[in-house]
C-alpha cells in the first residue's frame, strides 16, 4: 500500500498546481449549477409574480358602441385606450408590432345585444407570439366574465335558475405539501450535483491516463517496481478525492444559494439546511468511486488528451441519464431501483429534499450496489493497464 499512497499524493499535488483541474473541480463545476439554478428560479418567480400583478392595457376601437362593456373592463382594472382602427389597419398594427392587442366593437354590437343574439367583438392578436397570447388570454377571460354576467342576468329575468347551465363544476384540490411543490423545481438539482461531482475528477482522470501517455511519462512510470494495477488504483483514488471535494462544495453552494431564492412567494419551502446537505453528501459519496473508475476505463482506450476529453464529456452524460428519466417519468423509489447506481442516488437525494424518511434497506442496497459496480470498474481499469497497448 506504500506505492498506492505515493501515487495518490503525487496526483493530488500535481493537480492542485494545474489551473484547469482546479477551476473545473473546485470552482466552475460546483458553483455553476447552484448559481445558474438560483438565478433561473429567481427569474421565473419574479416574472410570474410580476406578470400576474400587471394591469392589462387594451386598445379598444368603437368603445362608444359599448359603454357598459368598457365600464366593466375599467372596473376590472383593465386600462382601456380608446383608439381608431378598422379591420385592415388593426391587422397591420398587430403585424407591425405597434399594438399587442386590439379589441374592435362593431357598430351593430348594441343592437344585437339588446335583441339577445350573440354579439361579436373582435380581438386582434398574434397567436404565434407566446408572450402576447398570454395578454390575449387575459383579455378573453375578462370578456368571458362579462359575458357570463350578462347570461346570468338574462336567465334570472326569464325566471330560470342560472345553476342549470352549470351541470358540472370542477374543483381543484391541491394536496401537495409546500416542500413537495418546491420539488418540482428542485428535481433537477440532483442532476447538477452529480454533474459537478463527475466534473471534479474529469481533468485529473484524463491527465493521469491519456495525458500521462501523451507526455511520455507513462513508460518511465511503468519501469518502477510498482504493480500497474496499484498505479491505476492510486490515480483513481486521487480522482475520488477531487470528486468528493467538488461534491461537498456543490452541496454547500446549493444550500447557501437556495436561501436567497424567493421560493416562499410560490408557497414553497425547502428544508435544504446543513444537515440535509450532509446527508445528501453521504448518499452521493459511494458514486464517486464508480464515476472515477468509469472515466478511467474510458480514458484508457483513448489515444490522446483531446480524444479522451471528447469521449469523457460524453461519458459525463451517461450517469446523469437516469436522473433525467426519473425526473421526466416521475419515478418513485423502490427497492429494485436502489440497485441501480445514479438512479438510486437521485431518488434518495430527492427523498431527502422531500423530507421523507429513508428506509435503511434502501440506503444499504444503494450504497452496496454502487460500491460493487465501482470496485468492478476499478478492477477492469487495473486489468486494462496490464495490456501492452496501454503504451499507445
Amino acid at each position: 500500500m506504500h506505492g498506492l499512497r505515493i501515487v495518490f499524493l503525487k496526483e493530488i499535488l500535481e493537480n492542485i498546481r494545474d489551473r484547469r483541474t482546479l477551476w473545473s473541480a473546485l470552482l466552475f463545476a460546483p458553483l455553476f449549477g447552484p448559481l445558474m439554478f438560483a438565478g433561473m428560479i429567481s427569474l421565473i418567480l419574479n416574472k410570474s409574480v410580476k406578470e400576474s400583478d400587471e394591469a392589462l392595457t387594451l386598445p379598444v376601437a368603437g368603445a362608444s358602441n359599448a359603454p357598459h362593456l368598457v365600464g366593466f373592463l375599467e372596473s376590472m382594472h383593465v386600462t382601456v385606450q380608446r383608439v381608431d382602427y378598422d379591420d385592415q389597419s388593426a391587422r397591420r398594427a398587430i403585424r407591425d408590432g405597434k399594438e399587442r392587442l386590439i379589441l374592435i366593437i362593431p357598430a351593430n354590437y348594441g343592437e344585437r345585444l339588446t335583441s339577445a343574439v350573440p354579439a361579436p367583438v373582435y380581438l386582434y392578436a398574434d397567436g404565434s407570439n407566446s408572450n402576447n397570447s398570454k395578454y390575449a388570454n387575459q383579455a378573453r377571460q375578462t370578456l368571458g366574465v362579462y359575458g357570463r354576467i350578462i347570461a346570468v342576468m338574462r336567465l334570472q329575468i326569464r325566471g330560470i335558475n342560472p345553476a342549470v347551465v352549470s351541470p358540472i363544476v370542477v374543483q381543484d384540490v391541491d394536496v401537495s405539501t409546500p416542500a413537495g411543490r418546491a420539488l418540482l423545481v428542485l428535481g433537477m438539482m440532483t442532476y447538477f450535483v452529480m454533474f459537478a461531482m463527475l466534473m471534479g475528477g474529469l481533468y485529473l482522470t484524463i491527465d493521469a491516463t491519456a495525458g500521462e501517455r501523451e507526455r511520455g511519462s507513462l513508460e518511465a512510470l511503468l519501469t518502477t517496481p510498482i504493480g500497474r494495477d496499484v498505479l491505476i488504483y492510486g490515480k483513481i483514488l486521487a480522482a475520488c478525492f477531487y470528486m468528493l471535494v467538488s461534491l461537498a462544495i456543490s452541496l454547500a453552494a446549493f444550500s447557501i444559494c437556495l436561501r436567497f431564492v424567493p421560493l416562499e412567494q410560490l408557497g414553497m419551502t425547502t428544508n435544504f439546511g446543513p444537515l440535509v446537505a450532509f446527508k445528501m453528501l453521504l448518499v452521493a459519496a459511494p458514486f464517486v468511486l464508480l464515476g472515477a473508475a468509469l472515466m478511467t476505463v474510458v480514458a484508457s482506450f483513448t489515444r490522446s488528451y483531446r480524444e479522451a476529453q471528447s469521449w469523457l464529456t460524453f461519458v459525463l452524460l451517461v450517469p446523469t441519464m437516469p436522473v433525467v428519466f426519473a425526473g421526466l417519468l416521475s419515478v418513485r423509489p423502490s427497492l429494485p431501483l436502489m440497485a441501480l447506481p445514479s438512479m438510486s442516488q437521485h431518488l434518495l437525494m430527492t427523498s431527502l429534499l422531500r423530507d421523507e424518511s429513508l428506509p435503511l434497506d434502501y440506503l444499504l442496497v444503494s450504497v452496496l450496489s454502487t460500491l460493487f459496480f465501482g470496485v468492478i470498474l476499478a478492477w477492469i481499469a487495473g486489468r486494462l493497464y496490464r495490456r501492452e497497448a496501454i503504451l499507445g
Binding site: 506505492g3 503525487k10 507526455r215 511519462s217 513508460e219 519501469t223 504493480g227
Partner: protein, 243 residues
C-alpha cells in the same frame, strides 16, 4: 548483468525482433547500435518489462523479467525513448517521485536527490516546474530520475538525444564513473561516434536481428571494415530482411 535470450516480438504481421541474444556485463558499457526501426527500442522495452516477449526470455541479475517483473524492475534504472516529465512538478519533485516509488526512505531520498542535482548539473532546474524545460534539461532530469535508486543495471534508450555538447560530456563522464563502480550499462544509439567514444562492447542490430557483437575491434573485423561506421554499413547491406 543483463541477458537477452533468443527474444522474439511481433506486432501483428510485422516481426520487430527475432532471435536476439546478448549479454551486457557488469562494469561495462554496452552499446546497442542500429538504424531507425531496427528493433532497438522494442528489445530494450522487453528488457525493462513494459513489453512481454512472444518467445525467449531476458534476465536482470539472473531474475527472469517475465516471471518476476517487479524484482527485475527493482534492479533497473531506465531512460525510455519518450522520457516525459510531469510538467506541474519541479525537477526535484520529478526525481523524488520515482525515488519514492522505488521505496527509498525520505531522508536518504533527499540526500540522493541532492547528489544527483550536483552530479548532473541540475541546480538551475531543480526547483523550477518542468513545464518550461528545454529538451536537454528534460533529458537530464529524466536521467537523474532513472538513477535515483542507484540501480545496478542501467538501460538508456538514445540518451544523448537533444543534449548539447557540454551535457553529452557530463553524461559520458557520469556513465564512465558508474561503469567503474561496477554498474552494468546498456544504451542504444544510431550515432556511431557515440558508440566509439563510450562503449566497451557493441551489439549491431538490423532488421530485428543481431548482425554482430563483441568488442569494437571484433565488430570491425567481423565486417572487414576500417572504422565502426563502415562496419555498420557493410553489416546492414549484407543482412537479409526478415518478415
Amino acid at each position: 548483468m543483463i541477458e537477452a535470450l533468443a527474444l522474439h516480438k511481433r506486432f501483428g504481421a510485422v516481426t520487430a525482433v527475432s532471435d536476439v541474444s546478448f549479454v551486457a556485463r557488469d562494469g561495462a558499457i554496452t552499446g546497442l547500435v542500429g538504424p531507425n526501426g531496427a528493433g532497438k527500442s522494442t528489445t530494450l522495452r522487453m528488457l525493462y518489462t513494459v513489453l512481454r516477449p512472444d518467445a525467449g526470455s531476458a534476465k536482470i541479475d539472473g531474475i527472469d523479467v517475465t516471471e518476476d517483473a517487479i524484482g527485475a524492475r527493482e534492479r533497473l534504472g531506465v531512460l525510455p525513448h519518450a522520457a516525459g516529465l510531469y510538467p506541474n512538478l519541479t525537477g526535484r519533485e520529478n526525481i523524488r517521485y520515482f525515488g519514492a516509488l522505488h521505496g527509498l526512505d525520505p531522508a536518504s531520498l533527499e540526500a540522493r536527490v541532492d547528489e544527483l542535482v550536483r552530479l548532473l548539473d541540475l541546480a538551475t532546474v531543480a526547483d523550477r516546474r518542468a513545464k518550461g524545460f528545454s529538451q536537454g534539461e528534460r533529458v537530464k532530469v529524466a536521467i537523474a530520475r532513472a538513477l535515483v535508486h542507484a540501480p545496478r543495471n542501467l538501460i538508456l534508450d538514445e540518451p544523448t538525444n537533444g543534449l548539447d555538447v557540454m551535457s553529452i560530456r557530463t553524461l559520458r563522464e557520469l556513465l564512465r564513473r558508474l561503469r567503474d563502480a561496477g554498474t552494468c550499462i546498456l544504451f542504444s544509439s544510431h550515432v556511431m561516434q557515440e558508440v566509439s567514444a563510450l562503449c566497451d562492447t557493441a551489439i549491431v542490430i538490423g532488421h530485428g536481428r543481431v548482425l554482430a557483437q563483441g568488442t569494437l575491434d571484433v565488430v570491425r573485423s567481423q565486417a572487414g571494415a576500417e572504422n565502426l561506421e563502415d562496419a555498420f554499413v557493410a553489416l546492414l547491406a549484407s543482412a537479409p530482411e526478415i518478415r
